[in-house]
């Protein structure tokens, strides 16, 4: 684990909108609106594909970090593609009300990687939260072939709850607000939200059970015991697959990220041997602050610098 190294100076200037153009990418889920950034440095034949987290936001975010990152990577010779998932922003198709980590949008990711491959480039997938899990799932799957040259996973959750449904970390006021009669009625009327409520209540029961009977909960990190019960088998299997394919991987967490603490706990148990086997192929960088949500400009800069430094050192031309 390391803090981000200094970024090697880019051979080209950061891109601007003058170096960008929009394109629609046909996917089984709908036509996806992508914004393509052309390399301003000497082209490497690689395209960064940026996958954002879940939520009702366009592909410029979170907090416009995908725009900043794409334009900076252009200076290092990477083209970049940021796109909106189906049903979101300018993309076509129908979006889901509830986004689940065990159902990543691999069809969307695959369509964009195929489009990039058609342009003669390999993809470096850079995902945030749900986007990181989608990138990992796609890269581990059979459709990826040799089209993925690298993976930067920014604050990926290592469990399979629905995104932003880590119940034991929600303040009680959050649930009180959501329990208003009007909202409850809206949930009960909608089949998808009813199913989500059932999953939430089951997860509540599981969390409460773990707190009442701590002996049945996950082993403390320091003991190197069994895998935490919440550790996603899918996450482990996907990471195993990309390590077997020798794809370079970067993990980025914030020092204050609960997801980072989860990762460290998993690393002390089931993930440890896999990461040890991967050796230098997998890097873990921890930056100050909280990367999930990126609600601090300084943390955004640190995250972007970490990815930029990794991309430059992993794929940049050697002097």
């Amino acid at each position: 684990m390391s803090t981000a190294p200094a970024v090697r100076p880019a051979p080209g200037p950061p891109a601007t909108a003058a170096d960008e153009f929009p394109a629609y990418v046909r996917a089984p889920t709908g036509d996806l609106l992508a914004v393509v950034t052309e390399a301003t440095g000497e082209p490497l034949g690689l395209a960064a594909v940026l996958l954002r987290g879940a939520g009702w936001r366009p592909s410029s975010g979170p907090r416009r970090t995908q725009v900043t990152l794409a334009r900076r990577l252009a200076g290092h010779g990477l083209d970049a593609v940021r796109f909106s998932y189906h049903g979101l922003a300018e993309s076509g198709g129908a979006g889901e009300e509830v986004v689940r980590l065990d159902r990543p949008y691999t069809a969307d990711a695959g369509a964009v990687v195929d489009w990039v491959a058609d342009q003669g480039c390999r993809a470096v997938l850079i995902g945030n939260c749900f986007g990181a899990r989608t990138a990992l799932a796609y890269a581990a799957g059979p459709a990826a072939g040799d089209r993925v040259a690298g993976l930067a996973l920014v604050v990926p959750p290592v469990f399979d709850y629905e995104v932003a449904r880590r119940l034991d970390r929600r303040p009680l006021g959050h649930f009180a607000r959501r329990a208003r009669p009007g909202r409850l009625w809206a949930v009960l009327r909608d089949p998808a939200r009813r199913r989500a409520l059932r999953r939430t209540l089951r997860a509540f029961a599981s969390v409460a059970g773990g707190k009442l009977r701590p002996g049945r909960g996950p082993a403390p990190a320091s003991t190197g015991g069994a895998a935490p019960e919440w550790l996603s088998p899918r996450f482990v299997a996907h990471l195993r697959a990309v390590v077997d394919r020798r794809i370079p991987v970067l993990f980025v967490y914030g020092r204050d990220d609960p997801y980072g603490a989860d990762f460290e706990r998993a690393r002390a148990t089931a993930l440890g041997p896999l990461l040890a086997e991967a050796g230098g192929l997998v890097e873990v960088t921890v930056v100050p602050g909280r990367v999930h949500g990126l609600t601090s400009v300084e943390t955004q800069e640190a995250m972007i610098a970490a990815v930029e430094a990794w991309a430059a050192s992993t794929f940049g031309r050697r002097a």
């Binding site: 601007t16 909108a17 003058a18 960008e20 153009f21 929009p22 394109a23 629609y24 036509d31 609106l33 914004v35 393509v36 052309e38 390399a39 082209p43 490497l44 034949g45 395209a47 939520g55 009702w56 936001r57 366009p58 592909s59 410029s60 975010g61 979170p62 907090r63 416009r64 725009v67 083209d79 979101l88 922003a89 300018e90 076509g92 009300e97 509830v98 990039v116 342009q119 003669g120 480039c121 995104v163 932003a164 909202r183 809206a186 204050d256 949500g293 990126l294 609600t295 601090s296 400009v297 300084e298 943390t299 955004q300």
Partner: protein
């Protein structure tokens, strides 16, 4: 995009999508110079609607509001296009995919960008009239951008003033930091002295906005005269005192005000984890604009 062999592919100036289900076309492009704006036009399927009786420019809000309102604006645009009204959306400078530094965002630039979007819509569609839809701070910018134009104007949950808007942002910043364990309690003034901006929930707000002195308050932002105006309040209950006062001031100046309360579970400065309901906002706005165009909303 350039392959490893150095082959640079031809790039289209704009991307197009046809949605046969909705009966619309969408054109996405960068426009303007020297700094370029990201824009999307939503058009009826049957052509550019040259000479349409009315077209609409949606002026998005900025800072944290930009993402919060995004999907609502897309849904409105698609609905209006399906009803036969061309719509232009855009990202202001320093926001979204457009050029510009976030910390350089200013009210004057926001007004200029609204005007640039109107101009782009006129170039491409040549409508008889252009209506403006603005939310939060951009509602004031849309009003100023139109000036004496007398265009139909829709204001979604407008801020009463820039001062009150920034106060809300600073309150949200303070609340956010209270919840942080071990966070350095750096105040906004100290942070500004150190960095040149105030970090409001991950968005740098610079002096161009913090010190802007020429931003009218809500009641004064709209030029007088016979123009139709729809004010949409997102909070439930009676019209809030600032909105009631603004509506009264507008009516005194012969502005034809329609005030609507469309409860919408929107927290603005704080990020919700799912889409806020907006059907009442969309229904009300689409019907009002269609009536201005002498059409029926889809």
């Amino acid at each position: 995009m350039t392959s490893r062999g150095g082959r640079r592919l031809a790039r289209a100036a704009r991307a197009e999508r046809v949605d046969r289900g909705l009966g619309i076309r969408e054109e996405v492009e960068f426009f303007g110079a020297p700094e370029r704006l990201f824009g999307c036009r939503h058009l009826p399927m049957d052509g550019p609607a040259a000479g349409a009786p009315l077209a609409v420019v949606i002026c998005p809000p900025v800072l944290a509001d930009f993402g919060a309102n995004y999907q609502r604006e897309v849904r409105l645009a698609r609905r209006l296009a399906a009803a036969g009204l061309p719509v232009q959306r855009f990202h202001p400078r320093g926001t979204g995919h457009s050029d510009g530094d976030r910390a350089d965002l200013s009210f004057a630039a926001l007004v200029d960008d609204c005007r640039a979007a109107v101009e782009r819509l006129r170039e491409t569609c040549g409508p008889a009239a252009v209506a403006l839809v603005g939310s939060r701070l951009s509602a004031l910018a849309a009003a100023v951008a139109d000036g004496e134009g007398g265009s139909p104007l829709v204001m979604w949950d407008p801020v009463p003033s820039l001062r009150s808007y920034l106060r809300g942002g600073l309150r949200a910043r303070a609340v956010h930091r209270v919840g942080k364990v071990g966070a350095a309690p750096e105040g906004p003034d100290d942070q500004r002295a150190r960095t040149g901006y105030v970090d409001v929930l991950g968005i740098p707000v610079g002096p161009a906005l913090l010190d802007a002195g020429d931003v009218p308050v809500l009641g004064e932002a709209v030029a007088g005269g016979p123009r139709p105006l729809l004010l949409v309040q997102f909070a439930p209950g009676e019209l809030t005192p600032p909105y009631a006062a603004a509506a009264a001031a507008w009516r005194e100046r012969a502005i034809d005000v329609t005030a609507a309360v469309c409860p919408c579970d929107e927290s603005w400065w704080f990020i919700p984890d799912r889409r806020a309901p907006a059907d009442a906002v969309l229904d009300t706005t689409a019907a009002w604009l269609a009536a201005r165009a002498g059409m029926t909303a889809a």
